[in-house]
Symmetry: C2
């Protein structure tokens, strides 16, 4: 499974713009990609349909969904992305807010990467792709290079494959130092179908993006700076 | 929540002997304990009932169950503990086998600790207890001090609470250097009700332990060395 001509990789896929671009980069680097998405009771459920479509059109070998039922909201509560807390609007307009926003989900990327690690070990893969981004990242601690580095180190002491000595795990975060505009330019070069992706934290029931949450503002600004038009529908 | 007189801790609880002892130690150290158990499709489902009983009798503030539904077995497949692979019997009798056995579940403790970390952050706790043991540990890479240390480091870069500077996460593995006999002696001193715990990888449907899998052999040997009688029922 780990021979050069058939490298397998696990790609975390949310249905958003960044992870769709990360998938395209993994494919361009020659990996056979197995995507992993999570149903953790997020409010914007449409992203799971987006993730499936992105995996299919993006050329993944297979796409997988893990459901986490949190009777007590353990691990994922306490965030505007899962609870009845209002998603902040217009927060990023005109200023750079570097605080940690209420849309932060405790330990989310740690949990996602842990699951990806277990899955990678099962299929014999040593490469994991995650579309985190430290530039336009809205202040999440688990989107920083220090976090990726610490997880990679953990992966190689935590697993039979990691301590086995044949190969070691690599956590790829190819977008981590790119601006949103650079991510979009890269994705357009690689033919990413951005019409299938959604970024909005608070879409309407029929799938229109709000245009005002942090994620929408960063996305719209990114397309503008990349000199391209965002193909997804907005409320206004 | 983090004042000295009311320290909260998250305690991972499996229903087995080790984690029941870890809970008793956390309680003895003055922590208000919130237990976290996982339903991940394990074959020996009775352990979840044991975990609940241990939490109640062991004086936990609350006990929580997280269900992980793995449509593709992602993260937890490829192990005799979840799949239709035979649990090895009589493997440990008369020799110390240090290889990684088929009962190893890929990245299990990484996933469990990640969930515990998210939960701890939500309730404002900085202390997490896990009953791993590196002495009699059956060869699991994620039961070693290197793993615990790497996870603790990760926790403090992965979370808003960890980077916030007010306190830092501590992963407690109080059993890590103890033999099974030492764990049992410690637990008996602290009044652990071992009759509520189960360790067997392959119990009968009515809850009798097999007496022959790695876990049973280590447990029986531990009680013998501790000069105590194991109160749970065995097939023979």
């Amino acid at each position: 499974m780990t021979e050069q001509h058939s490298k397998h990789a696990v790609v975390l896929l949310s249905g958003g713009l960044d992870s769709a671009t990360a998938l395209a980069i993994a494919r361009a680097e020659g990996f056979l990609c197995h995507t992993l998405s999570f149903d953790y009771g997020q409010r914007h459920r449409g992203e799971l349909e987006c993730a499936r479509a992105v995996a299919t059109i993006g050329g993944a070998v297979d796409s997988n969904l893990v459901t986490i039922d949190l009777s007590v909201r353990a691990g994922f509560g306490g965030s505007a992305l899962t609870d009845e807390i209002d998603v902040p609007k217009d927060r990023l307009k005109g200023k750079d807010d570097k605080g940690i926003p209420v849309t932060y989900v405790p330990a989310r990327n740690t949990i996602f990467l842990s699951m990806a690690l277990g899955y990678a070990e099962i299929i014999g893969a040593f490469d994991i792709f995650i579309g985190v981004n430290a530039v336009d990242y809205s202040g999440y601690p688990d989107c920083r290079p220090e976090f990726i580095k610490a997880f990679e180190k953990l992966a190689n002491v935590a697993t039979a494959a990691g301590v086995g000595g044949k190969d070691s795990f690599r956590i790829h975060a190819p977008l981590i130092k790119l601006s949103k505009a650079q991510i979009i330019r890269k994705g357009l070069e690689l033919g990413v179908e951005y019409s299938l992706t959604r970024s909005c934290y608070d879409p309407t029931p029929d799938g229109f993006s709000c245009g005002r949450c942090d994620a929408c503002i960063l996305r719209l600004r990114g397309f503008e700076e990349a000199g391209a038009k965002d193909p997804v529908p907005y409320v206004r």
